[in-house]
């Protein structure tokens, strides 16, 4: 029997996602090769990426401060299965490795690519450093990955 009747469609919805006041500052910072965080002096909290609402008190984070590009790896995964990337509509290149990194002096973690692709070489507490690309445009991709750091 042939496949039952169905309607097929590939709607392509395009969006212009606003980075917002805090996100715009963060992306500008990346262009300059700097990692910016937002701070809540009351709690106190320093969070990357910078955002308006404090994760502790839900109040307004009032300061933007530069933090160290060095940090500690807390978790990671090697992504090895194929799936369509919603941004492109085609399969995302695999495998790739990303992790959760706590920048020194901050109170949360930041999720980004790792240069190391072999998960057996990674460990909790490992020191890593954010690497930037040479020509930066003020976008997340200015950040290449986290690479192992010697310290």
């Amino acid at each position: 029997m042939s496949e039952p009747i169905a309607v097929r469609a590939t709607p392509e919805l395009t969006f212009r996602y606003a980075a917002g006041q805090y996100g715009s500052r963060f992306l500008e910072g990346l262009r300059e090769g700097r990692i910016l965080a937002s701070r809540c002096p009351r709690c106190p909290r320093t969070l990357v990426p910078p955002r308006i609402a404090c994760t502790h008190c839900s109040g307004r984070m009032t300061e933007i401060a530069e933090v160290s590009p060095c940090g500690t790896l807390l978790a990671w995964t090697l992504v090895a299965f194929p799936f369509l990337d919603p941004f492109t509509g085609v399969q995302r290149p695999i495998p790739y490795c990303y992790g959760m990194v706590k920048f020194d002096g901050t109170d949360n973690t930041f999720q980004y690519f790792l240069s190391e692709k072999d998960p057996t070489k990674l460990r909790v507490g490992q020191r890593v450093k954010a690497a930037f690309r040479e020509e930066r445009r003020g976008e997340l991709a200015d950040l290449l990955h986290f690479a192992p750091a010697g310290d």
């Binding site: 309607v7 469609a9 709607p11 919805l13 395009t14 969006f15 212009r16 996602y17 606003a18 980075a19 917002g20 006041q21 805090y22 996100g23 955002r51 308006i52 609402a53 404090c54 994760t55 008190c57 839900s58 109040g59 307004r60």
Partner: protein
Amino acid sequence: MTGVSILGAAQTRHVGRRDDANYMELAFEVVEELLARTGWTHDRVGTVIGASSDFWDGRTISEIAIQDAAGAAGKSASKVSMDGAFALVYAAARIASGAFQTCLVVAHGKASEGNPRKIANAGFDPLYQRPLGIDDHAALGLQARAFLEGRKLSPSALAESAAQSREAAARNPNAHRRETRHVLEADPLHDDEIAPDSDGACAVLLGASTFGGVELAGFGCATDEHALGARDLGQAGVLPKAAQEAYRRAGLGPREIDVAEIHDASSAQTLLWREGLGVACPVNPSGGAMGAQPGFATGLVRVLEAYERIVRGEARTAIAHGMTGFVGQAHCVWILRRRS
């Protein structure tokens, strides 16, 4: 009687494009203002209900964006994927159940980030109507013609109604200011007879009636068939049914309502929904949705406008109406009453 009251409310100014704010910042704006106005703090808010659309936000589980802004992390929270007026039903139920004393309701919508007509197309019957390329404006045109011809009205009725909404919106500092042109958009509707695509947010704090505030006297909801063509679009459909439920719960009749705020996506709907509610009072002194239509926040803004009129002493009772579905496939009617 619901045993629940509105303790405070806040809205953004509604505009065509808020490039300066992402969803978290948009929600934060209204929550911060609401707390500042009422003197409430996050730690005294029991639970949070969001209202937003994953399609309009371009984001699955769209409420994730506003969790920290609404103080929802660590609390019991949920999201209604319909107009904020429906979210208010769930929020009020959480309080009336006795489980919570207060509930923060946050609704947001940003039409500017996506393509509104294309997103609207995705909201029609996927098998038979969406492939034809129909969108919300075309559906509003079909409805407006059915309305005019069913009542033997001339198209000038639409223009007159739109002019009234425009005048009212001009007096409302939060309404969406835009250039309109009197050119046909979806015959018989002109560009200036269709509600705008707006960016904005709204927050309402509900509490048990022991906290005072403006009483939520009653509500009613009803759902209609989805397909265009299933009913006479020129009639109010299930809106009278939703309204009857609200009147019954409130113990009030339509003649006892002082002011109505209705969700009108077109100037035909301003007239049609007024008829469906059966009210004879002033309608949409804020300009209504014709003055600003920030997605799923639109109906909650109607509740806010009704609430503020009662707080200012301009009305003793008010109706606020929200809908989901471009031609009113689901309606929610709220009746607000000043405490005696």
